[in-house]
């Protein structure tokens, strides 16, 4: 007796939701207002990747970091600046054995830099950010993993200033080190059974 094998093409689309929460230690870099007049204080973020296409995870994220002002004459008489980013991203998980994985990420989105005292808001700067990140993940027990990583964020702001000062205010670069938890919510089958 013979049989036939019916092979079906594997779908490039996988509904494989992943959720990440993390805390971060921010640092601001470069010859700009955030770099020269602030010290990184703390941050947190969340990212959701509901599906993948050709093994690239697609998702959205929110990142918040807070910086203390160290030079009032440059930043203004405020206590702190808060950098908020809402972004879309694509990432690619690379398995490193059974327990470890690495996931580089590329993202872009809208940015707001809010300047505050303890009692009032002294203005916002809005713009656009690019994000380059990578995480190293350790799978504790499915669906839970712990990860550590770093992200570099370059932000450009829409500002008005004297031409000699524009570059100082219209951009920022930050490097965040983060630690968090990842949940793989479920893994959907992408192949049908064959006989």
């Amino acid at each position: 007796m013979g049989g036939f094998l019916f092979a079906q093409e594997k779908s490039p689309f996988l509904a494989q939701p992943q959720l990440k929460f993390y805390g971060s230690l921010p640092s601001s870099l470069g010859d700009n207002m955030l770099g020269e007049a602030h010290d990184g204080k703390m941050g947190f973020g969340i990212s959701v990747s509901p599906f993948s296409i050709y093994n690239f995870n697609i998702g959205v994220g929110f990142d918040f970091t807070q910086y203390d002002v160290t030079e009032v004459s440059l930043a203004g008489n405020i206590d702190r600046s808060e950098l908020m980013i809402v972004y879309g991203f694509v990432s690619y998980p690379i398995e490193l054995g059974e327990k470890f994985a690495m996931e580089p990420k590329l993202g872009a989105g809208g940015t707001k830099l809010r300047q505050k005292t303890s009692s009032e808001n002294l203005g916002n700067m809005k713009g656009f950010s690019f994000l380059l990140a990578t995480d190293l993940e350790y799978k504790i027990i499915p669906p839970l993993s712990v990860f550590v990583g770093a992200d570099f964020i370059h932000s450009s702001y829409n500002i008005q200033a004297h031409p000699e000062n524009e570059k100082f205010f219209d951009q920022s670069q930050v490097l965040n080190i983060h630690l968090g938890l990842k949940f793989n919510l479920f893994k959907a089958k992408s192949e049908t059974d064959t006989k």
């Binding site: 203004g76 809005k126 000062n165």
Partner: protein, 223 residues
């Protein structure tokens, strides 16, 4: 009516505070020298925005929007978010409460009524200014007289003096009225620009040069 005014003041104080445009960054800069032309280091400077919420009772919101000190070259730069609803923007040099200098060895200067026209390209550059030592000063009293009723809208004095208030927009009424006598250095010429109204007149102006000797002086300006 008085109760209504109090209510309006209260409502303004809780809802009409200073507001800022964080996307517009203003710069105040300058250089401070002593009488010998040497740079003065560590002279405190600050930028203040004010919002007068009640012109009857004088209630106002006031923020120090930036502050700093001069460097070893006597230079300073202050940056801050642009206020958008202020009634006044000021630069205080070596001044803490408009009465006494922070560094007691030197004079103080307050620039006020800084308007948008004074910050082309979002920068106010006061250039090089001089603070004087406060020893051996003499008194200057200035009296204005006229044959018809008048009132002085404001005045700017240019010269070596203990306390200089400089109105950047003389068409706007003086925030700071000089309290005579003025304490000034002896043996110099002081230039006074003054602005005044007479009955049914538009704002008028005049200028006078006052020669100071080594003694107290009372000077009369006839409008």
């Amino acid at each position: 009516m008085k109760n209504l005014s109090f209510l309006l003041v209260f409502l303004c104080l809780i809802s009409c505070g200073l507001e800022y445009d964080g996307s517009t960054r203003i710069e105040f800069k300058g250089r401070i020298l002593d009488e010998a032309g040497l740079p003065l280091k560590n002279i405190p400077v600050k930028a203040i925005a004010e919002l007068r919420t009640d012109f009857i009772y004088g209630a106002h919101d006031s923020d120090v929007v930036s502050y700093g000190k001069t460097d070893e070259n006597g230079e300073f730069k202050l940056f801050f978010s642009s206020p958008i609803n202020e009634t006044d923007l000021m630069l205080w040099i070596n001044s803490d409460d408009s009465e006494n200098p922070v560094n007691p060895a030197y004079s103080q200067i307050i620039y006020y009524h800084i308007e948008e026209d004074d910050t082309p390209d979002f920068r106010l550059d006061i250039g090089t200014v001089e603070l004087i030592g406060l020893e051996d000063l003499v008194d200057l009293r200035v009296h204005f007289t006229n044959s018809t009723p008048f009132w002085i809208h404001g005045s700017n004095f240019e010269g070596k003096m203990k306390m200089k208030y400089w109105n950047m927009s003389p068409n706007l009424e003086d925030e700071f009225l000089y309290a005579y006598p003025l304490r000034v250095k002896p043996n110099q010429t002081i230039e006074v620009q003054y602005y005044y109204y007479t009955d049914n007149s538009e704002l008028m102006s005049g200028m006078e040069e006052i020669t100071i000797g080594n003694q107290d002086l009372t000077y009369e300006i006839n409008l």
